[in-house]
Amino acid sequence: MRPVYAVGIGITKFGELWERSLRELITEAGLAAVADAGIAGEDIESMYVASQSAGRLLGQEQLGVLALDEAGLADTHIPATRVEAGDASGAAALRTAYLSVASGAHAISVAGGVEKMTDVLEDEVATAFTSNSDMEWEGFFGATLPALFAMMARAHGSEFGTTREQLSAVTAKNHGHGARNPGAAYRFPIAAAKVAQSPIVADPLRVLDCAAAVDGAAAVVLANDEVAARLDGPKVRIASTAQGSDTLALHERESLTRLESTTIAASAAFERAGISADEVQVAEVHDVFTIAEILALEALTLFKPGEAAGATEKGLTTYEGKVVVNPSGGLKARGHALGATGLAQACEIVEQLRNAAGDRQVDNAATGLTHAMAGTGGTSIVHVFRAEGGGR
């Protein structure tokens, strides 16, 4: 396998982008990523595009081709494919692009993700989230994604004593980070006490425990070592990619409190990257709900089972702590643009490892991690990023 570098990143503002269409958003992100990389559009050899809901909400398939076409690159005739893995689709596109470069099939590959959640009404958005669960045996019976995570939260509380306040600490931290992210949808702090007072969604989860679906797009240009060597700028290598699966329905899992797909993916990612969990300094994890961040941190072995909630409350997952989790603000403050999220996470980690994250910069960040998940954990995808010598 050839070494793979993230040589260019591009990300749009995330939020309710009424004036921007899906085509405009993916083009903006792609263009920015290509310019950032210092390559020409014609250099791209393959494109992988993620959008969890363009098909179901907007009725648009063949998204890979749409993105290629909008970028004016239809006449390159390169392969352009839509990749889907629920709300981990963006990370799945990244992984696919990675493998196409690592295998030697392509020298330069672009992974892009885009979502236009605001083109449809709330009920359809909620159904889009639910479509990541088992539609026939969970959704059909009245399950919503928040309801499924609420049941996991209750189980986690019973098993480990995780408290309401500890869940609230996750939101407070992420909003504190997001306030420093000009591209985030929600750039204001939220006091922990406010979370438990917000309207209830599915007991014990409240509105402020839940990431909101927004519009946005992000793209990453990947290149092999030979191409990367020719380009300017600090080198950020994707040290490993790993993906784990599990049962689709939550009720089929071995455990309600352990994200097995994440643990499998993390273990493989650490091994392939030749690092241990302790070396991770900065991480973007899938905080679709506050409890999801807690479960993810434990499954990633960044904290022991039952300890992530307390660690968050004590500030161990923010600056000056043990590992900075979701410096971008996470899905909660940045906003969750389903298929674009996994790539937005990658963009943040690349910025961090280039030492270009401004007032969100994690000191001396050299090893970073992204974690994306679909539904309640049917799919988890982990990437490890490492900064290499050289600077801008």
């Binding site: 019976f141 009245g142 399950a143 919503t144 609420a150 309207p199 209830i200 939550l250 009720h251 309600l256």
Partner: protein, 134 residues
């Protein structure tokens, strides 16, 4: 409206009919064509298996923000119930005060309306779980 799709699963939804693997004995709900435990050894050896409808609550939540299709029922209790025979289902709990629900509480399947494909469409019936009555 996906009429044949939901019709195919009627026996599962009405009567909790799942599968039992004649090769390794594993029981599962809903029905499968392949046993997840012994896989290709199970080909042709999966039999229909009707579960009793008795089970216990493993975890639950009260859903307040419900999809439009469930607006009339909100707030409602959603739970994971472990059937006495082993498999688990995601289901609504009815006829029980939510404040009295406990992990391990015994419940029994009942027959309720799950939804409909619009006011002119097919009505979908199936299991929800309620108190044990006998």
């Amino acid at each position: 409206m996906q009429v044949p799709r939901y019709w195919r699963e009627q026996n599962e939804r009405y009567n909790l009919v799942g599968s039992s693997c004649a090769n390794c004995g594993f029981t599962m709900f809903p029905r499968r064509t392949l046993c997840p435990k012994c896989r290709h050894h199970s080909v042709g050896k999966l039999e229909d298996c009707a579960f009793s409808g008795r089970g216990a609550v493993e975890t639950w939540t009260v859903v307040h923000q419900a999809p439009d299709s469930h607006a009339l029922e909100a707030p409602y209790v959603l739970a994971i119930v472990k059937l006495d025979e082993g498999p688990r289902v995601t289901t609504q709990i009815v006829d029980i005060d939510p404040s009295t629900i406990e992990v391990g509480m015994p419940v029994a399947a009942c027959f309720r309306k799950l939804g409909e494909s619009g006011g002119a469409g097919v009505i979908h019936y199936g299991y929800k779980f309620g108190p044990v009555r006998d």
